[in-house]
């Protein structure tokens, strides 16, 4: 069954926490609860999601563009919605503090961006191997030198190999919903993995958008650490001597096999998250007009720009379909093969210099000569819809662009 609660969690549904919020069944909260409209920045939306997330520990550290969100969670702590909150000393330490809190059975939240993500990196495969269902918000920004604080999604590329669940939100609304849904999926006993919920920094964090919020007096049931597939480190379950010969030093088949099978298991757990994610997010992808010969495949705000490009191309009489990828890990392999089977041209607009999504698609889709890597923007550049239009028209040899003069 998808997205189940434990007996302990079920027994709390309908009761109130110390802030007077009612612990609510997640499905009821996400799909049935009334929603009210708010006009918020992405950072404020993160705060509102965490207000409803029954988070035990949040560890914060300043780095643009997530600093505001991280500080706003501090306000929630001061108000009593988050049980503990601290500023770490660096992202490497922050992610280790998150690990310690998760090892101790807490629901843990943190946010990071760009160079912070990179500094913390040693922790992420460790979180996965230790099965810690920490939720980390990544508000992507440039990681290049010279110093840049501008939007750029290169850091997501590095996260893809860690074993974490990686979702890429397009809008503030998705961010609000996915922050809450992320905990429910990540904490399932057959998943129990950390999750990175990513968005494009500034475009989502620093712009205001209309968002539909669930009532602030309803919240998620708390985390139940005794559903973890590995023991919670709280000395409330019998301690065992794990092994006579630590695997780390042994050069033998048992040792290699243990490491190999655990890596396989954590990857399998990521794949198993599909059955929980699909009902939560309505699928790992959205496709809009997938029978078109020309497709745009994108994630994050590149989806919004693609949608605008499709409208412009429609004016020119060119029909283009759109596939939006919501979950990058697990990767929607079969969904994408199905959604792109009629396409002759697949364009992949991205906010990074290397085009990691195109690389992923080239490895997953048959006839990958169909995949046109781009357009790319990087280092904080915006991606005007016209750039996407131009790339498509140039590639297809479709005459001069009537749109070329727009805005000049």
């Amino acid at each position: 069954m998808a997205n189940e609660l434990s007996e302990t969690q079920r027994s709390l549904i309908g009761t109130k926490n110390k802030k007077g919020q009612t612990y609510t069944d997640p499905n009821a909260l996400f799909f049935d609860a009334p929603r009210t409209t708010a006009f918020y920045t992405g950072s404020e939306v993160i705060k509102e999601a965490i207000r409803r997330a029954s988070v035990d520990v949040m560890v914060a550290y300043p780095i643009t563009p997530q600093s505001e969100a991280a500080a706003l969670i501090g306000e929630l702590y001061a108000e009593g919605y988050v049980a503990d909150y601290m500023r770490g000393e660096s992202e490497f330490a922050v992610m280790s503090q998150c690990a310690g809190a998760a090892f101790g059975g807490a629901r843990v939240f943190t946010t990071t961006a760009g160079p912070g993500t990179m500094r913390a990196f040693e922790n992420f495969p460790m979180w996965v191997g230790s099965r810690l269902p920490i939720e980390m918000i990544v508000t992507c920004r440039g990681i290049n030198s010279p110093l840049s604080i501008q939007p750029d999604t290169l850091e997501i590329y590095f996260l893809l190999g860690t074993g974490m669940l990686v979702w890429h939100a397009e809008t503030a609304q998705e961010f609000f919903d996915w922050i809450l849904k992320g905990y429910i999926v990540a904490e399932q006993p057959d998943v129990h993995l950390p999750i990175a919920v990513c968005c494009d920094g500034f475009f989502v964090t620093h712009t205001k958008d209309t968002v539909l919020l669930t009532p602030s007096d309803l919240c998620l049931p708390p985390y139940d650490p005794y559903r973890s597939p590995v023991p919670c480190m709280d000395m409330e379950v019998p301690p065992v001597r794990m092994m006579r010969d630590p695997f780390v030093m042994k050069s033998n088949y048992i040792s290699y096999m243990t490491h190999a099978s655990w890596q396989e298991e954590t990857r399998a757990a990521c794949e198993r998250s599909r059955k929980h994610t699909i009902p939560m997010l309505g699928g790992l992808i959205d496709d809009e007009g997938d029978d078109a010969e020309i497709l745009l495949v994108a994630s994050g705000t590149a989806v919004s720009q693609s949608r605008e490009a499709i409208r412009l191309l429609e004016d020119e009489g060119i029909r283009v379909g759109l596939v939006k990828i919501k979950s990058l890990r697990p990767f929607p392999f079969h969904e994408l093969r199905e959604a792109t089977k009629h396409a002759k041209y697949i364009f992949v607009p991205e906010f990074n210099v290397i085009g990691w999504l195109a690389t992923e698609l080239k490895a997953a889709l048959p006839d990958n000569h169909r995949i046109i890597d781009g357009p790319h923007v990087a280092g904080g550049m915006t991606m005007p819809a016209e750039v996407i239009v131009e790339t498509i028209q140039k590639t297809l040899g479709i005459g001069a662009m009537s749109l070329a003069g727009r805005g000049s």
């Binding site: 049980a83 330490a93 998150c98 310690g100 809190a101 101790g104 807490a106 709280d234 000395m235 092994m243």
Partner: protein, 294 residues
């Protein structure tokens, strides 16, 4: 956690490993005067180890585990190194995650346990080598002290990177020739006890593990003080006999030589007035109890 939680189903009793049966039958959980004298009868927390024969670290492990005032509610945090070869044999919950991040992990852990078990004592004890504590992890060691995180940090100081084969570390003596110090170490041994005092530790002890009763006393003090007063730090000399060219039987003598007056591991203690008062309070309570019994 109480002993009730670790009972074995009668049907499975005969197939449980002997050390688990020991834990159930002999555990010193809840025993107020547990200490180094239990070593031998009570092997439920550690029996075997996978260190070199005669390694002083193995003695230190036994003394420390025998001296924890509250093993049934203690979680330990280790780091990469020789200690990470022993922790898998230790029957208190222990966390290994990365190299050098032990005090950051312990900070998060202690906070989580305080949130989840309000009003209940859950001790956190960090035990890591000198490379982890002073070199790669120094930032996180100090920051946890600045923040007054309430747990004990124990550093096994063997003055080098033992597990990787004897490289120079910050706690190595100046002039010592080692791997990565081909012409001898160029700078002085880092004075972490003094740095710990200045960084906010309420109790700092620097000694060897040659005397089990001393280790018992300082471990107990450090854990009890960390629980109530503030961060505490123990730096224990556990020489790497392999890398300094000693035999298995020579570890104890090496520690005795190093703790003589004027030598680099002479006993040092820094304690704040608040910590002193706290320990005096515990002593007074103990005396009262004895008086009542008499």
């Amino acid at each position: 956690m109480s002993k009730e939680k670790i009972q074995i189903c009668p049907e499975f009793y005969d197939i449980m490993p002997p050390e688990y049966r020991d834990l159930v039958e002999q555990a010193t959980f809840g025993k107020e005067d547990r200490g180094w004298k239990d070593i031998g009868q009570s092997k439920e927390l550690i029996e075997e180890h996978s260190l070199c024969a005669g390694c002083p670290e193995s003695m230190a492990f036994r003394y420390i585990l025998a001296s924890l005032p509250n093993p049934e509610d203690t979680v330990m945090v280790g780091s990469t190194g020789c200690t990470s070869l022993v922790f898998p044999h230790v029957a208190v919950h222990n966390i290994h995650s990365l190299f050098g991040n032990q005090n950051a992990v312990a900070s998060g852990l202690k906070r989580a346990l305080s949130v989840r078990f309000p009003g209940k004592v859950k001790d956190v004890v960090v035990l890591a080598g000198d490379g982890a504590t002073v070199d790669i992890g120094l930032d996180m060691t100090l920051q946890s002290w600045f923040r007054q995180e309430k747990f004990t940090t124990i550093c096994f100081d063997n003055e080098l990177y033992a597990n990787t084969g004897g490289q120079e570390s910050g706690l190595m003596q100046k002039g010592f020739v080692a791997k990565m110090a081909p012409v001898g170490k160029q700078f002085e041994k880092v004075s972490l006890p003094e740095i710990a005092r200045e960084s906010g530790c309420c109790y700092v002890v620097h000694c060897t593990v040659s005397k089990p009763n001393l280790v018992e006393k300082v471990v107990r003090n450090a854990v009890l003080l960390a629980r109530e007063v503030g961060p505490t730090y123990l730096q224990l000399y556990t020489p790497c006999i392999l890398e300094i060219g000693k035999d298995s039987m020579e570890g104890l003598q090496e520690m005795r030589d190093a703790e003589r007056p004027g030598e680099r591991f002479r006993y040092k203690e820094y304690i704040t007035d608040t910590a002193k008062q706290f320990l005096a309070g515990i002593d007074a309570q103990k005396k009262e109890k004895v008086a009542v019994l008499v």
